[in-house]
C-alpha cells in the first residue's frame, strides 16, 4: 500500500515537473501549442497518394494522406509477407536438404541485415535500374512496369465501376454459400470429392464469364505514353515497390521463423499418432499439424503484422510518402509544431496496435482449447 502510494505520488510529481518544464520552455522559445495549424495550407506536394491531394490542401489532409499511404504499404506487406513467410517456413522443414538449406539461407541472410539497408538496397540496386518509361515492360498495352512505377488500368466512371464491383462481390458470395451447402449435403453424405472439384470448376468459369460481361459496362482509363510519362490509369511508384519488396522479404523471414517454431512446437506424439492412423505427409500437415500450429503461430504472427505497420515508417529513407515522411519530417520542418505532430503520429500507431491486439485477443479467446 505504502509502495503504491509512493509510486503514484512519484509518477504524478514527475508528470507535473515535466509539464511545468514544457510550459516554461515553450514560453521561452516562443513556441505555440495547439492544433490550429492543421487547417492551414501545406503548400508542398506529395509524390503519390491514394486519396486526392494537391499542395493547396491542409495539413490535416497531409496527415490523412500519410495514414492511407502507410496503411496501403503495411497492408500489402502483411498480406504477401504472410503468404511467402508461411511457404518458406514450411519449406524449411522440407525433407529435401537443398530446399531446406535454401530456405534457411534466405531467412538467415534476410533477418540478419538491418531493414534500412535492405530498403535502400532494393531501391537503388533493383528498382531504380528498371528501364525508363519509353523502354519499359508492357503487358498487352494494359500493364506497364518501368522505373517510375507500375501502371495499370483503372475504371473511369465511378458509378458503373461500383455496379461492377458490387456484382462481383455478390456473385462470389453466392458461389461461396452454394459451395458450403453443396459440401454440407452432397459431400458429407456421399464422401464424393468430385462434387467439390466440379463445383470449383463451374464457379471459376462463371466468374470469368461474369467479368467479361461486366467489363462491357465499365469504361477503363488505360495508361499510355504521353510526353515524359505514362498518363491515365493508376500507378504505384517504384519507391512503393522497393519498400514493399524489401519489407515483404524482411517480414516473410520473420514469419517463416514463427511458422517453423509453431510447427516444431507440436508434440512429436501428434506426428506419430497421425502416422499410425495412416495419414500421408500432406494430410498430416493439412489435418493435424497446421490446425494446431495455427494456434501457436497466430500470436507471433499478429505481432509481426504490428511490426510491419511500424516498420513502414522506414520507407522515409527512399522517399515513399508515408506518415513519418510527410508528417513528422516535412510538416514539422514547415510548421515547427513538434509536440502536436509527434503525438498525432504516435497516437495513430498506438491506435493501430490497440486494434490489432484487440483482434488477436478475440481470436485467442475463440481458438484456445477448452482445457489443455
Amino acid at each position: 500500500m505504502v509502495i503504491q502510494g509512493v509510486t503514484l505520488a512519484l509518477v504524478l510529481a514527475l508528470i507535473a515537473y515535466l509539464g511545468s518544464n514544457a510550459a516554461y520552455n515553450l514560453d521561452r522559445l516562443g513556441m505555440m501549442f495547439g492544433f490550429d495549424f492543421l487547417s492551414s495550407t501545406a503548400g508542398f506536394d506529395i509524390s503519390w497518394s491514394l486519396i486526392p491531394y494537391d499542395p493547396s490542401m491542409t495539413y490535416w489532409r497531409v496527415f490523412l494522406v500519410g495514414i492511407t499511404n502507410t496503411l496501403v504499404l503495411a497492408f500489402n506487406v502483411i498480406l504477401f509477407g504472410t503468404i511467402i513467410g508461411t511457404v518458406v517456413g514450411i519449406l524449411r522443414l522440407s525433407s529435401n536438404p537443398l530446399v531446406a538449406l535454401l530456405a534457411r539461407s534466405y531467412v538467415e541472410v534476410v533477418r540478419n541485415v538491418p531493414l534500412l539497408i535492405q530498403i535502400i538496397f532494393w531501391f537503388t540496386a533493383v528498382f531504380s535500374t528498371l528501364p525508363p518509361p519509353r523502354r519499359g515492360y508492357a503487358l498487352g498495352d494494359l500493364f506497364f512496369l518501368n522505373n517510375r512505377g507500375f501502371y495499370f488500368p483503372s475504371p473511369h466512371s465511378d458509378v458503373s465501376f461500383l455496379w461492377f464491383a458490387g456484382a462481383i462481390v455478390v456473385f462470389v458470395g453466392a458461389a461461396w454459400l452454394l459451395y458450403r451447402k453443396a459440401r454440407a449435403t452432397r459431400f458429407h453424405q456421399t464422401g464424393n470429392r468430385k462434387v467439390v472439384r466440379t463445383g470449383w470448376f463451374i464457379w471459376a468459369v462463371a466468374l470469368v464469364l461474369a467479368c467479361i460481361i461486366g467489363n462491357g459496362f465499365v469504361e477503363w482509363s488505360i495508361p499510355a505514353l504521353d510526353g515524359f510519362n505514362l498518363e491515365g490509369g493508376q500507378y504505384v511508384p517504384v519507391a512503393f515497390g522497393a519498400a514493399f519488396v524489401a519489407m515483404t522479404v524482411y517480414r516473410s523471414a520473420a514469419i517463416a521463423e514463427s511458422v517453423r517454431a509453431g510447427m516444431e512446437s507440436i508434440d512429436r506424439g501428434q506426428h506419430e499418432a497421425a502416422r499410425t492412423i495412416g495419414f500421408s505427409r500432406y494430410q498430416m500437415l493439412r489435418l493435424i499439424l497446421i490446425p494446431q500450429a495455427i494456434r501457436a503461430i497466430i500470436p507471433p504472427l499478429a505481432n509481426s503484422w504490428l511490426v510491419a505497420v511500424k516498420d513502414s515508417s522506414l520507407a522515409v529513407a527512399i522517399g515513399f510518402p508515408e506518415l513519418v515522411s510527410v508528417f513528422m519530417q516535412t510538416s514539422i520542418n514547415q510548421t515547427g509544431r513538434a509536440i502536436e505532430i509527434i503525438s498525432m503520429v504516435m497516437g495513430f500507431y498506438i491506435l493501430v496496435s490497440l486494434i490489432i491486439s484487440y483482434l488477436l485477443n478475440q481470436y485467442n479467446a475463440r481458438v484456445q482449447y477448452k482445457v489443455m
Binding site: F187, H188, Q189, T190, G191, R193, D267, G269, Q270, E272, A273, A274, R275, T276, I277, G278, F279, Q283, L287, I288, P291, Q292, R295, Y369, K370, V371, M372
Partner: protein, 258 residues
C-alpha cells in the same frame, strides 16, 4: 548369444500362422545399442505382454513394429509382408496395425467424435454419416458415447485413453499395439482402461501390450516377454514367466512391482 536366443525361439514358436515375425532386430541410437538381436514370433489372435525395467527398449521395439522408428539390422514381417521403407509398406502397416500411446496423443483441436472419424473420412473415404455411426458404436463400446462432442482437454485421463483406443479401432486394424496405456493414469482410472482392453482381447484381436499391470497379464496374456537392456530375457506363458521366472533379473523386477 545367438544360441541363447535360439533356445528361447523354440519356446515362442506359436501354433497358428504368425501375425508378426521379428528376426534378429538390432537398433542403435547413435552409439547406443538399444535393441540387441531381438527375435520373436507373434501368432494371429495371440495376446502378448511385454514387460521389463525402464529403458530396456520395450517402447523402441513396439515402435519398430509400427514403423515409427528405423532399425539398422534384422527384419520384421507382418502377415508375411516384409517391412520396407516405402510408401506401400507404410500404408499396409498402418492399415493393419493400430497403436495406443502412453500419453494418448489425441488431437486436441478436434472433438472426441472427430478424432475417431478423421481417418475414416479422409483415408477410408467413408461418407461422414457412416463414419459417425462407426465411431459412435465404438465409443459406446468403450462406454463414453455421451462425451462424443467434448474436446480431449475436457476429459479425464482414463476417458482420453478410451478415446484413443476407439480412434485406433475405428480404422479396423488386425493387430493392436499398446505402449504402457495405463501408466499415465490415476490408480482408479487404470481399471476403466484395462476393462476395455480385456474386452478387446476377448474378441480375438491380436495384441501386443507393453504394460506393468501384472493382473492384466495373468488374466488375458497368452505369452509374456521380459526385456532387459534391449534383449529378450524370458518369454513364455504368464504362469511361467510371472510365477516361475527362470532368470534372476526377471525375479528381481517382479519382486519390485508386484
Amino acid at each position: 548369444m545367438s544360441q541363447f536366443n535360439e533356445a528361447r525361439a523354440t519356446v515362442s514358436e506359436a501354433a497358428s500362422r504368425p501375425a508378426i515375425r521379428i528376426d534378429g532386430l538390432n537398433k542403435w541410437y547413435g552409439a547406443h545399442h538399444v535393441l540387441r538381436d531381438v527375435s520373436l514370433t507373434i501368432a494371429e489372435k495371440e495376446i502378448m505382454v511385454v514387460c521389463g525395467p525402464s529403458g530396456s527398449g520395450k517402447s523402441t521395439l513396439i515402435r519398430c513394429l509400427n514403423h515409427l522408428e528405423e532399425y539398422q539390422e534384422g527384419a520384421i514381417a507382418v502377415f508375411g509382408h516384409e517391412l520396407q521403407r516405402d510408401q506401400k509398406t507404410e500404408k499396409f502397416i498402418h492399415q493393419t496395425m493400430g497403436m495406443v500411446f502412453q500419453n494418448f496423443n489425441l488431437f486436441p483441436h478436434l472433438t472426441v467424435l472427430e478424432n475417431c472419424t478423421l481417418g475414416l473420412t479422409w483415408l477410408r473415404k467413408k461418407p461422414e454419416a457412416e463414419a459417425r455411426e462407426i465411431a459412435m458404436t465404438l465409443l459406446e463400446r468403450v462406454g463414453i458415447a455421451q462425451l462424443a462432442n467434448r474436446f480431449p482437454g475436457q476429459l479425464s485421463g482414463g476417458q482420453q485413453q478410451r478415446v484413443a483406443i476407439s480412434r485406433s479401432l475405428a480404422m479396423d486394424p488386425k493387430i493392436m499395439l499398446f505402449d504402457e496405456p495405463t501408466s499415465a493414469l490415476d490408480p482408479e482410472m487404470v481399471k476403466e482402461v484395462l476393462d476395455v482392453m480385456v474386452n478387446l482381447a476377448q474378441t480375438g484381436m491380436t495384441m501386443v501390450c507393453v504394460t506393468h499391470e501384472m493382473q492384466f497379464a495373468r488374466q488375458v496374456a497368452d505369452r509374456v516377454v521380459f526385456m532387459e537392456d534391449g534383449e529378450i530375457v524370458e518369454v513364455g506363458p504368464p504362469e511361467q514367466v510371472l510365477l516361475n521366472p527362470q532368470w534372476d533379473r526377471t525375479k528381481a523386477f517382479l519382486d519390485h512391482i508386484l
